[in-house]
Symmetry: C2
Subunit: 473 residues, 2 copies
């Protein structure tokens, strides 16, 4: 079986969206999420007490979806589970493009009643050949057209990353945390119990989506493993797919069963199959974010040798350990580089063997750029990475150095633009985390990739390198 | 050889401190660091251009330490390396308690000249039986008496944690980042090349220091391995010692050699010896911070079974994976707990199998406290840990829930006080990291331990459990 691209297009690009059962108690979260839609939005709510609140949002309300005066592409359902099948019946009669059930309380509860109700929905949809998203999920997010599942998600601009998530939290967080990290979503879906459309369908769809350059997935379990891995193999040939498996342990699997009613597979099998398919495995939200960031913003590395810059001696040791432990190398530089460094580098309290422990040499953007260029031009170096300690930077900017953060960021932007080699930063925070956040914002604006710890930066580079090498074969 | 406690007391509690060679170029960082001393502070600076700046700080300047009109306990030297031996000569004649050399450019440069100059200092000090801290370091920090090595370190209040660091950065960062995490230093030292007083001496001293309840160490290399591990074994019997070894890899070891001239030992040997001595190994600054926090603020656990609370379903799966992967267990709760939970827990979109996926049940501090008490009272649970998602919390506080963060923190404080079981929180940030920082501040004020990721919380608990079990034998 293969998913119907035209029908998927319709639900990912709806021109008419209907929200059924939204209410004041949740501050009309669904209507507020889709008010941004480039298209028509209607409400269906039979409770008259809710009508004034819905009208205040400027949304026309109907008592039945059958009364909506135009074809409906995508329906968001937030009614109690006991009436879900009645709503579904109307949707089928209306011949909508797809129904998304935010409604939960189905197989994930592990109860007889929950399983029964889920089976009813599934049978009705299959019989009517209706596409269903969920139940027990947040549904589709297409920022470009303003179709959201959370009122704080950005819209108006499309991104490059597709995200397929069995969890609503992770889908929401990926869009929001991704955004402040320079990662923008092309299309995403939270699909919960996935009883009709499942991970494989979405993967196949986003695999063929031109706006989607890379795909991330959070999966607790798949229904048809053979089809999933066959599809994964095909898609991963065309674009990078990063997979985070939830329920990797016995305890996690039990939680996954309570969450989305998923039966999980052994993580060892997953791991082997992901590798075989040429996809990238990650094990946490942070790692997912880091690897996607690396895929988008770091040039593909050709080898394992890194040229490092750190702001103090203690950090030079620690950054070296972090990269070496991740499976990378911190080599000696070439004699040409050492000769040039020796001509100006102040070694009192510093050192330039690699890492460059820059210390007081971090005195002007020009000098930083000069040192980066030496690392970038060194034949022993495949990738350049530098620490920016927001704490020591703020000290240097107060004492001894006469430049601004913006001037430093300009120098890094210039290096990023001119260097043939992959480049990224590691922004360590120290005690003043708010300072680091404001520097991160400036780096993100200039598309300079940055990671918050040495380990995370080193790990992201290693995953990118492994991916690049395995796909170059 | 054993360190002389009386002489160590003198340099950790100096009544008279002299700074030699401080200057405007570094904004008089040393004088500003020790102006807070409960005692006398003098400057020695022969450059007349610097005198007005020094006097403006209210510090009396002399041209030679020999002119200081009272006994000197601790000298901070920030002169160029070429004149360090002349300063040392005067200090020896003055019979000071100890000399600390911030001055660098010695064996860590790997140059003949650097090694020669270091040997000169070492021989002079040994011949005169003078205690020396460093060179190439930041020296001693005793917040209680206002002896600092950085102008932003807190003082006036003593803490419980001793820190011994071969790196000035890590010593400074431990005090500053520790502080915002509720970890306060009793005494610490950055000792750099450690040519006279070495890690073992400081360890022995802090091992016998009554104000020091736990000890952290960042070490790149030790001079007398036998004595170090003998001392470690003794000290670790009396109080927890957490060791972070810098230079764990070949590349890291090379950086360590450039940093403090250290010859590092194989990490496998270190690991085995640390374990044998009953100390705790950590591998990063963050892990050091987490484990020290756990030692200070989490009651000692008696088993591996955790009762977990997470704010959404996706996080319930992920928190379970994190704890299980760390070697802990997320068990089913007792029937009594399930019965009680069933009496009030709203399972629409949530679940209470363990983790409690609280979802909409996170509606009042009373209900949170009730759920925590169920976990804390459950016979299958050894430790209780809960996620606070600053993002979802702020949403709940806007929609559906009528309480403040302070009221929530009060409920947690009450649970922490009444529960016999270990308890901690994991504060996930989402896209609004600044919100999480302000919640962290409230938690720290109430001594509620908190970690920023599931992995870090789980790892800290596992290390605490292993430590507790191994010392209970």
């Amino acid at each position: 079986m293969s998913v119907n691209r035209e029908r998927m297009d319709r639900i990912f690009h709806p021109r008419c969206v209907v929200v059924i059962g939204d209410k004041k108690q949740t501050n009309y979260m669904w209507l507020r999420s889709v008010l941004t839609l480039k298209g028509h939005v209607y409400s269906v709510q039979i409770n008259k007490d809710e009508w004034p609140g819905i009208e205040a949002l400027g949304v026309k309300n109907y008592s039945s979806i059958l009364d909506i005066p135009e074809p409906v592409d995508y329906v968001i359902v937030a009614v109690p589970r006991t009436v879900a099948h009645r709503v579904l019946e109307d949707c089928i009669r209306k011949q909508v493009g797809a129904v998304m059930f935010f409604t939960s309380g189905f197989a994930e509860t592990g109860t007889e009643e929950g399983i029964r109700l889920q089976n009813v929905l599934g049978e009705m949809a299959r019989k009517a050949d209706l596409y269903m998203v969920g139940p027990n999920c947040m549904g589709i997010y297409n920022p470009e057209i303003g179709l959201r599942h959370h009122p704080e998600q950005y819209c108006g601009e499309g991104g490059e990353v597709g995200f397929i998530s069995q969890s609503g939290t992770h889908a929401t967080q990926f869009s929001l945390v991704g955004y402040v990290n320079g990662i923008k979503v092309s299309k995403s879906v939270s699909y919960g119990n996935g009883i009709i459309l499942d991970s494989t369908d979405y993967l196949e769809y986003l695999g063929g989506d031109e706006d989607t350059r890379a795909i991330g997935m959070y999966i607790e379990g798949v229904k048809d493993g053979r089809r999933f891995f066959r599809t994964l193999k095909e898609v991963a040939r065309a674009k990078p797919v990063v997979i985070w498996k939830g329920g990797q342990t016995e305890d996690g699997a039990r939680a996954a069963s309570s969450h989305t009613g998923s039966l999980t597979t052994s993580v060892a099998i997953w791991d082997a199959l992901i590798k075989q398919c040429g996809a990238i495995r990650v094990d946490s939200f942070d790692e997912l974010l880091d690897v996607v960031k690396a895929l988008l913003y770091i040039k593909h590395p050709h080898g394992e040798r890194v040229g490092l810059m750190a702001m103090t001696g203690g950090q030079s040791v620690v950054i070296s350990d972090a990269f070496a432990k991740a499976g990378l190398k911190v080599p000696k530089l070439s004699e040409i580089s050492y000769k040039e460094l020796a001509s100006f580098f102040n070694i009192a309290g510093g050192s330039y063997m690699n890492p460059l422990d820059v210390s007081s040499n971090f005195s002007s953007p020009e000098l930083v750029l000069r040192m980066l260029n030496i690392l970038g031009g060194d034949e022993n170096v495949d990738t350049v990475a530098m620490e920016i300690s927001s704490y020591f930077l703020s000290q240097r900017l107060r004492v001894g150095a006469k430049f601004t953060v913006d001037e430093l960021v300009s120098a890094l932007t210039s290096f990023r633009g001119s260097s043939q080699k992959p480049f990224f930063t590691i922004l360590t925070a120290g005690p003043k985390e708010a300072d680091a956040l404001s520097i991160r914002e400036k780096l993100v604006q200039q598309s300079i990739p940055t990671f918050p710890t040495f380990q995370r930066g080193a790990n992201a580079l290693k995953k990118l390198l492994d991916y690049t090498l395995s796909h170059a074969e």
